[in-house]
Symmetry: C2
Subunit: 245 residues, 2 copies
């Protein structure tokens, strides 16, 4: 098709990396391309922290799982939703920022995600691979402490990047006909469609070389969703200046 | 460099389109590639609604601004954060979903954003252009009503796509050295950096062919941020099953 489509369709999470470093100018090339992502009203409400310090890496690896690849990967980035810069911009113009709205939280979180997805794809197009690390939200307060992340900024997720030292299989996505609707949201046939998809996932888990297991999508989701998910997030966000008014 | 990087760096918002439709199989190619985006714990917590109905388009165009390109564009997609499918998966496995956490809201919102950014890039790689429409959050209740969007689903943003009938200039992003930090969040020099960036933006606004104006980034942000931003969002989200516990 074309390189963009091919790179997307080849995406797998990579957690094992060659020891080869990612050169400084390559990091800049990737991030400067990523920055061209769309941004709500031009706010560009994100910052990226490149975590080089091995002790900080080790502590984040521990709190996020443990996920040792956070310590081992050549490049570990933390993507933050950032409204502090806008508070500063208001100050520079003699204005006062009106803070704390859920809407602002959405804008900054989405902006960080759009830049991150560009980062992943730009990296993959240059032969790198990686994985998002939502696990930093296990203990976001400690992540803020380690990285001096101030109020009006919060770490949304991390990203491990490097040259792949593994070649995992592609994971089958939900069939397009489940996620794509026309003119109105309907899910009348979804249960049947999910059962077929369960079989596809089951085959994938049975056949894959690493971590072969007997599982399917609805089982996996029900295990994940039948427990409290990071119930500290709300209080954490409030404490960082995101009270979700 | 390579096509992925080039497509990213050529991104501009496109709001004027040729009358040429986007073929059904092209829509599928784009979205099937986009679906390979990373997803937290494989949840794939999003749905996409392709709005074809002209009356629905007209009403969304009105409430979002008005933004007439929503009515005029060949393809208008609404990206939803969707946890309803997971509730169903729990039911299929005889389990009960534990709902309402801020964390789940973040996961679903980020998942929708990652798929959307892939969609934009895949489309651009095939000669299309487009623009995100955050304006659907002006009246998300009405959007839900028009598109039958149920509880545990919310429309995050829309996206207009089509063959470009305009060729706007590239908009200068924040310098990488402002957004990229190493090991810790620092913004000691940001005010000086923002002043230089203001000059870059000022030159851009003065020179651009359409909507030439005297403006800069901090001024723009201070105008945007010194007023209440969609203060209805919190109550709306609660009403849709996202109480942000």
């Amino acid at each position: 098709m074309n390189q963009v489509i091919e790179v997307m369709k080849q995406h797998r999470s990579i957690r094992k990396f060659e020891e080869k470093p990612v050169e400084e100018n390559l990091i800049r090339t990737i991030l400067e391309a990523a920055q061209h992502a769309s941004t709500s009203n031009f706010v560009q409400a994100y910052s990226v922290i490149n975590v080089v310090d091995t002790s900080k890496r080790a502590q984040i690896a521990e709190l996020a799982g443990p996920q040792p690849w956070i310590e081992q990967c050549p490049l570990f980035l933390v993507f933050c939703a950032d409204l502090k810069r806008h508070d500063k911009a208001c100050g520079m113009c003699g204005m006062e920022m009106v803070k704390g709205y859920t809407e602002q939280f959405i804008i900054a979180t989405v902006d960080a995600a759009l830049v991150a997805q560009n980062t992943m794809l730009a990296a993959e197009s240059l032969g790198l691979g990686g994985v998002y690390i939502g696990g930093i939200r296990n203990d976001p307060e400690k992540v803020c402490h380690l990285l001096d992340i101030p109020d009006l900024v919060y770490p949304v997720f991390g990203m491990c990047l490097g040259y792949p030292a593994e070649d995992p299989q592609l994971k089958p996505r939900l069939p397009l006909d489940i996620v794509l609707k026309v003119d109105r949201y309907t899910d009348a046939t979804e249960q049947v469609q999910l059962s077929s998809y369960d079989q596809v996932c089951c085959d994938y888990y049975n056949q894959r070389e690493c971590a072969n297991r007997d599982d399917n999508w609805t089982q996996q989701m029900s295990r994940l969703m039948c427990r409290e998910m990071r119930p500290h997030m709300r209080a954490f966000l409030e404490s960082k200046g995101f009270p979700m008014k």
